[in-house]
Symmetry: C2
Subunit: 237 residues, 2 copies
Amino acid sequence: MRDMIIASTSTLHGGKYLEYLTSVLVKRLKRVDASQLLFIPFARPGGISHDDYTSRVREVLLPHDIEVVGLHTQKDLITAVQNAKAIFTGGGNTFQLVKMLHEYQLLAPLRQAIYSGTFYLGTSAGSNICGLNMRTTNDMPVVQPASFKTIGAIGYNINPHYLDPDKNSKHMGETREQRIAEFHIYNNIPVVGLREGSYIDVQGDQEILRGELDARIFEQEKNPYEVAPGYDFASLA
Amino acid sequence: MRDMIIASTSTLHGGKYLEYLTSVLVKRLKRVDASQLLFIPFARPGGISHDDYTSRVREVLLPHDIEVVGLHTQKDLITAVQNAKAIFTGGGNTFQLVKMLHEYQLLAPLRQAIYSGTFYLGTSAGSNICGLNMRTTNDMPVVQPASFKTIGAIGYNINPHYLDPDKNSKHMGETREQRIAEFHIYNNIPVVGLREGSYIDVQGDQEILRGELDARIFEQEKNPYEVAPGYDFASLA
């Protein structure tokens, strides 16, 4: 019985950190009677320390009487994941995040926790790791993880911060769509391009698109197509 | 006695493939008396086949009486690299390129060839591999190479297609500058952001910026700074 929010971004343009997600997050935490949230700060956006990153989340949830515990402060990380009622993995650099998850052997415990019903929130890099591998991240490979394999809590990959091609650009680097097309030369896993403000609401067998924007689905040897909020991605698996 | 052109891109906006580089390339090939160019097509931009990619280069050099040979057509790849007078590695996906170079054990032969004076042209992914590792590529990690280690023909890394932050953007994904700052959390290698149209002209001990645009240098724990055409990057090593 999965219970997840897989979000494209933590922050909307002009908004505060987690602002657009706070009310749905608090509601879901109350529903599973979680007064504590286990935070995984390993993606370190901009190189922020684990402590400082955890404090950012703590500040957001303090007014809602939710205690935030950084996974890095725990003696036994695997047990901490196993005992958590609710887990949040923040965004940042997916390579660094996945490197740490492999080093601490946390992928299997996370998968087990999610399939046992532990609430999970991911934003950006924290959403990338919900897919089958991290081969559709937008991040720079600043460190080398032992493997690109990720949690596999859903049967496809996420491309967070999905960005439509800018027709006025004179830049000759690849567009996001071209990059995902390159992924499909070597892989047959479907990819969901999640625009900022969108998230996938996973409840049991359902994987519903939420937010105001459409999402873009990329499958091998098919033209990409758009799906509207309310769409269930479960059949992609 | 190195003899290299390390270019940000193969193609300028509105230009044809290799157009802006053809005259300097032909001049350099004549200088080393190379009537043949060994082309490494492994980066496969957009998934183009090795044959088709090689044909694209062949078409450009046909009017100049330069024969283009695809490395993939050679029986013994290492010997082909060792015997070449001139080598060109084209752009595309750096992960796929580096995966192939490791699988065929071509990194050491390429390094040796370059330091023995074999002319080398790299564009985009073909330039990324001239640095110490591929950790500053912009590409999507669509496949997993055995290692991120690259040729090390220069003592720093390249970020090709360097793109200045767009102040009007409402997109919350990281800017290029933020990504390189993340690289410097975990690495102390200098990074040269090469804008499109720029290249590094390596001749012996000199590594000179050519083209019309400035380049941007990123060093750990320093503010990034701009250098003008004519600048010698050799001291960065």
